[in-house]
């Protein structure tokens, strides 16, 4: 899972820190860093790029709320859910809606590693454990 050697990881971490403003990644900066890296091709650039990609992927995951429901949500409902989530996690939060019939009913929201499970399936599983 870990890419690059120690040196490359350290360099990637330094670059990543320089791409951040206000606790968030600045996509413009990331893009220009990548362009520079790909143009200059410094030693170990592949490892560094892979490490940066990992970080970007993680950042995206943390800034995207994956909302799954048993049935597709209506547009109005989707907007409402997005508004509620943005109020909680910041205005730049992206939302991705999926359907999963196994949930039976209710919603399951995942932001980063945090999961809010209000689905019937989750409640049944919780009840099974507490019994």
């Amino acid at each position: 899972m870990k890419h690059g050697n120690k040196q490359e990881r350290l360099q990637a971490a330094r670059l990543w820190r320089s791409c951040r403003t206000g606790g968030r990644a600045d996509l413009e900066k990331v893009r220009s860093v990548l362009r520079l890296l790909l143009d200059a091709e410094p030693r170990g650039w592949q490892g560094i790029v892979r490490c940066l990609a990992d970080r970007l992927r993680q950042e995206t995951r943390e800034r995207t709320a994956a909302v799954s429901s048993a049935e597709p949500l209506s547009e109005a409902l989707q907007a409402e859910v997005t508004a509620v989530l943005r109020r909680r996690h910041g205005a730049d939060l992206q939302t991705a809606f999926t359907t999963d019939p196994a949930l039976i009913g209710g919603l399951r929201v995942r932001v980063g590693s945090e999961v809010w499970d209000g689905s019937i399936h989750g409640r049944l599983a919780a009840m099974e454990q507490s019994m």
Binding site: M1, G106, R110, S113, E114, V115, G118
Partner: protein
């Protein structure tokens, strides 16, 4: 019926009110019971993880982007991409009096087929040791029933005494004898209805041992009726290194319950060298930097934080005690190796068992010169102090003389007498396994050997003579023994009685 329905209703309404908030992660890499998990950003160190299907894990390494964790138990069903949930709990095991008589695994799940453990209480396996203010000095003895130990290297309640020696020198036997004697004493006090007696419960932790050895230990405990006072925690040689690494902590958590509830417990870690090896494996798999002999840098802290939890605590802090008997196996008698020196420096003394002595027939093969108890005589009853005081010195003198006398043949009478007495003391301390000698009997025997009771008996016949004397005392002088046990000190009157008893036995023998 109705209350069950109400219960279900209550549970359902409680569940419906709020969505479950959970920390989750995804397994990215797994091998040899060690997993790397992506996500789980808000997790605690030492937190229990849930892999689903009843597979639990333990978070060990908290890195920037991922978490290194250990799978507890079987890791065959854990695959890459599987979701892992944080439980918000530290790794805990069931504790309490209901654990007595049970054989459990590292998570406290029964292995003995006697059904679930009837306890509601749980305790985290990693806890801080009691501080300075909540400790009390060790002053009450643990009667092991082994004469050499009780007389020369006494162990007190709350002490940590290391049992160290080569393979098959009787380390486990010493521990087992101590456990068996505690059970004997507990049962005797129960039948007497003695409220004064503080029962001592035992926890036996088997780390990395052959299942057959563990079965033999459990069998011995059952045969001697010691199981009702004992908990056995097993992480066998075929269990994962994770289980072997955690088993001593489980045993300590179980023992701590007694300490914190005003009772006394004895915990045996058999053995900590295998524990260190298991921890080394886990650490290397987690890619922690290795140090001397490839052990991780915190292998000292691993054992010190474990053994520091054994203590005698004040009334405010619970008023109980936890005594630890860690076992270390040495290679070719080398007590200056890495792990042995570590544990020697942590403990309050050590019992060194020598294979040379063992093969000479001195069993238990305790090397009196190299064994010490740093708590010492404050953990002996007064009567024992009175008779055992000089023995260690006499033994040391005997060994010195014995080394000299190998060269010279003509010895004066005084030296010869000293040699003979020394030989007799060595013979006296030979003791078959699982045959404990009660403390009162020890006092009389030790008094006899120092005051001419064994004079005229050839050293080779000492063991036999001692056996006869012990049987005779138990049959005819039970009152005297009981008096010593209760008064705990040899007063003038009692001393006269002891003298009379020994003399009348000698007369009987002619």
């Amino acid at each position: 019926m109705n209350d069950i329905l109400q219960d279900i209703e209550a549970k359902l309404t409680g569940l419906a009110s709020a969505p479950q908030r959970q920390q989750t992660g995804v397994v990215r890499e797994i091998g040899d019971g060690v997993v790397r998990i992506e996500g789980l950003s808000g997790i605690m160190s030492g937190e229990m993880l849930d892999f689903g299907d009843g597979v639990a894990g333990l978070a060990m390494n908290l890195d920037e982007a991922d978490v290194g964790a250990l799978v507890l138990g079987s890791f065959q069903s854990v695959r890459e991409g599987r979701e892992v949930r944080a439980t918000g709990r530290l790794l805990s095991v069931p504790v309490g009096k209901a654990m007595l008589g049970r054989v459990v695994d590292v998570l406290g799940r029964p292995l003995d087929g006697k059904g679930p453990v009837a306890t509601e209480e749980f305790s985290p396996i990693e806890r801080a040791a009691p501080g300075i203010m909540s400790r009390q000095p060790v002053s009450e003895p643990v009667q092991t029933g082994i004469m050499a130990v009780d007389a020369l290297i006494p162990i007190g309640r709350g002490q940590r005494e290391l049992i160290i020696g080569d393979r098959s020198t009787g380390k486990t036997t010493v521990c087992l004898d101590a456990i068996l004697h505690q059970a004997e004493l507990n049962r005797a006090a129960e039948t007497r209805g003695d409220k004064e007696h503080r029962p001592l419960y035992s926890v036996y932790v088997a780390v990395g041992q052959k299942q057959s050895s563990v079965a033999r230990v459990v069998n011995t405990l059952e045969e001697h009726g010691a199981m009702p006072y004992t908990v056995v925690v097993v992480a066998g040689a075929s269990d994962s290194a994770t289980s072997q690494y955690l088993a001593p902590f489980t045993g300590t958590a179980i023992g701590e319950w007694f300490r914190d509830h005003g009772q006394d417990a004895l915990v045996v870690y058999d053995d900590l060298s295998k524990h260190a090896v298991a921890y080394r494996q886990v650490s290397l798999l987690l890619k922690r930097p290795s140090g001397r002999e490839a052990y991780p840098g915190d292998v000292f802290y691993l054992h010190s934080r474990l053994l520091e939890r054994s203590a005698r605590v004040t009334k405010e802090a619970g008023g109980g005690s936890l005594t630890a008997l860690p076992v270390i196996e040495t290679q070719a008698g080398d007590i200056s190796a890495y792990i042995p020196t570590n544990v020697i420096s942590i403990t309050d003394g050590q019992l060194f068992l020598e294979s040379d002595l063992f093969y000479q027939g001195v069993r238990p093969a305790i090397s009196v010169g190299l064994s010490v108890s740093r708590v010492g005589s404050s953990a002996q009853i007064k009567a024992m102090k009175q008779v055992a005081g000089k023995i260690k010195l006499e033994l040391a003198q005997y060994r010195e003389l014995a080394a000299f006398s190998q060269f010279g043949s003509d010895l004066d009478a005084k030296t010869q007498a000293q040699l003979e007495r020394g030989r007799r003391i060595v013979e006296l301390f030979k003791q078959p396994q699982h045959e404990a000698v009660p403390v009162a009997m020890q006092v009389v025997l030790l008094w006899a050997v120092q005051n001419g009771g064994f004079d005229g008996v050839p050293p080779a016949k000492t063991t036999e003579f001692r056996g006869r004397l012990a049987t005779w005392l138990a049959q005819n002088q039970a009152g005297l023994l009981e008096k010593i046990r209760q008064e705990k000190v040899l007063s003038e009157a009692l001393l006269a009685e002891v003298k009379k008893a020994v003399e009348s036995f000698k007369q009987l023998q002619g």
